[in-house]
Symmetry: C2
């Protein structure tokens, strides 16, 4: 796949001009991967409005970065200390010491942000890089859709293995193990989130990474998978019933599936982004679950498990830009969160591509029929 | 395992008094787990110097938190917005609106730190929680050593499966799949880091999560595992040779293993913490690799993949306290980083308990003999 990185730099440079930013520090591996073709921990990049990209990596990484990265200038360091201080020289060389520099404020922790602001960028004006990086990566191109389709296929394979392993007496972590193994065989290079297998009382938790709990007859079981394939991941969640479950649980799943389909249907280009939320909320309210579901009911997904667009007020908390409308090229995980009662929770989440013609579901595993 | 959480709160309260802190906000799941027995994403805790612990979780999580958490006051919210704003009321109820509050500055991202400082703690004095939380969790008690020993056993089982799968023609991600599957069977509930399987030219990368690369004859292969068992994880890294490798690579591994043993030997209570670094550096220099290894050569491990003690200047970059001496109860991953040349890298890393009698290696997988 021949990605046109200069084009991406050009789009970034245009956004930088609009926002009065001279250069971006890029440390989040996904942003580095998007902008250079190589994202790895412990690497630090600087993209200037003049479309130069300097990257610094541990000395041992230089040969593989040369092989994989599109950066114009590859430098090396021998310690974290050298990495940070070396960038003072880079800024000075480029005449950017007193420039306006964007930092990834929803990636840098508060300590590191302080180190940067006070020691590396003491004379610069530090602003958030989010207004550049969020819109830059939000709309996916054809190559990215192809990788996301492949990640969705891998997730479907994993769900199949997980559902087959979900039975009375099996442990949650062994179900997770079957799903992981099948996804590795199918192409997964890693996981964007831990595998969730949450059974019985654990299904009522908003986040349920697999534990050593045994699955029992009558359990509601939530399974959530997020494989990474060539840097892209999807979200897929299904709810399985082991034997007979309370009518309230099967009603809830039925209502949630109906709501999810309504949400997917609302993901058409030009529609209000929060219309997806409204469409799901309407169904859930009509079905008597208005007090029982959590928000956000959807979010963007791609190189990260949660990325732009993040709906409504959640955007601010995630350090993201607020987006008003659905746009073609968005990838949305619709069905996030689920319906929760005191002793169980149900959820179905799929990854949806907003194509120019409307929503297209990428994950397609058939939801197990309640027994 | 009956953990004495009040004792932990008491130790925290003593440290808080020393540092003039009235309360700590706790959002990092590992810190929540250490202090209440329940750590989960999307939960927010407040520990006061008066030893009260308020925790807020999504409404659906309340019943499982009641079951698992030792917090004195469990509250719920329906949205992230409610979670953050609800804490303004908690602070007001407790008379802490204008108090000195510690935040996890190496966990909160810069955006969230800003939201907290400006909107939730606008009248309070915000300081770093690190001087409390780092020393609190650094020395492990007998119950924790037992869990770490179990995690080490699981890592050894995983390494065995990975080494057996490392052969000409197999893919890195399939080797990772075998290791994960074996560790799930042995007790792993998750992964503190992605499984690294880095072969051939990829072994020269400082961080090598498994890819779809095929392993070839003559490859140096680094394998790194970090299973989580009941909330605790260890680090285990081994280097495997597939067929004949250059003499420089086998010499490097031989030297690194010698250096690692010297480092482990230096981890005795009361010795200078950086003595571990010096012991390894001495051997590596004597063997001609003084320019070829990366630092830090060790770090603490436990509920997190990297935690206190973090040696020397690395501590500052990680937002950690600088620690001067080895102490009984520390858990150290010794052998971090490795020797790197342009076309390969070798590494061996083990998790070591500093017992009152000296260093005890918890991970014990025999290093494959170079062929």
């Amino acid at each position: 796949m021949a990605i046109d990185f200069e084009k991406r730099w050009g789009r970034a440079a245009d956004l930088m001009k609009t926002h009065g930013i001279d250069a971006l520090f890029v440390m989040k591996p996904t942003n580095l991967a998007y902008l250079t073709g190589d994202g790895r921990p412990c690497a630090l990049g600087l993209l200037t409005a003049a479309r130069e990209f300097v990257v610094a990596v541990p000395e041992c990484d230089v040969s593989s970065v040369r092989r994989l990265s599109h950066a114009t200038d590859i430098r090396s360091f021998r310690s974290e200390d050298e990495m940070f201080h070396g960038f003072r020289d880079v800024l000075s060389d480029m005449g950017l010491t007193a420039a306006t520099i964007g930092l990834e404020k929803n990636f840098f922790d508060a300590s590191l942000h302080e180190v940067f602001s006070e020691h590396i960028l003491s004379e610069a004006t530090v602003v958030s890089a989010t207004p550049i990086l969020s819109p830059l990566r939000m709309l996916k191109d054809a190559d990215e859709i192809a990788l996301l389709t492949e990640a969705a296929r891998v997730a479907d394979v994993g769900m199949d293995a997980a559902v087959r392993a979900t039975r009375d007496g099996n442990l949650e972590r062994l179900v997770a193990g079957e799903a992981e193994y099948a996804m590795r065989q199918a192409g997964a290079e890693g996981w964007a989130t831990p595998v969730y297998v949450a059974s019985g009382w654990r299904s009522a938790m908003a986040h349920g990474p697999a534990s050593s709990k045994a699955i029992e007859m009558g359990d509601v079981v939530q399974i959530h998978l997020a494989p990474i394939v060539e840097g892209y991941s999807v979200d897929l969640c299904r709810t399985v019933f082991v034997g007979d479950v309370p009518t309230e649980a099967s009603d809830a799943l039925d209502a949630y599936l109906e709501a999810q389909q309504a949400g997917i249907g609302a993901a058409t280009p030009g529609a209000p982004l929060l219309g997806i939320d409204a469409a799901m909320a309407d169904v859930l309210s009509a079905r008597g679950f208005e007090d029982a579901f959590l928000r956000p009911v959807f979010h963007g997904v791609g190189m990260e498990h949660e990325e732009a667009p993040i709906p409504g007020g959640h955007a601010v908390i995630h350090g993201e830009e607020r987006i008003e409308h659905v746009e073609a090229g968005m990838i949305l995980a619709i069905g996030n969160c689920g319906i929760y009662r005191e002793h169980f929770g149900v959820r179905a989440e799929d990854t949806v591509w907003v194509s120019p013609d409307g929503p297209t579901q990428l994950t397609q595993h058939p939801t197990p029929i309640p027994t």
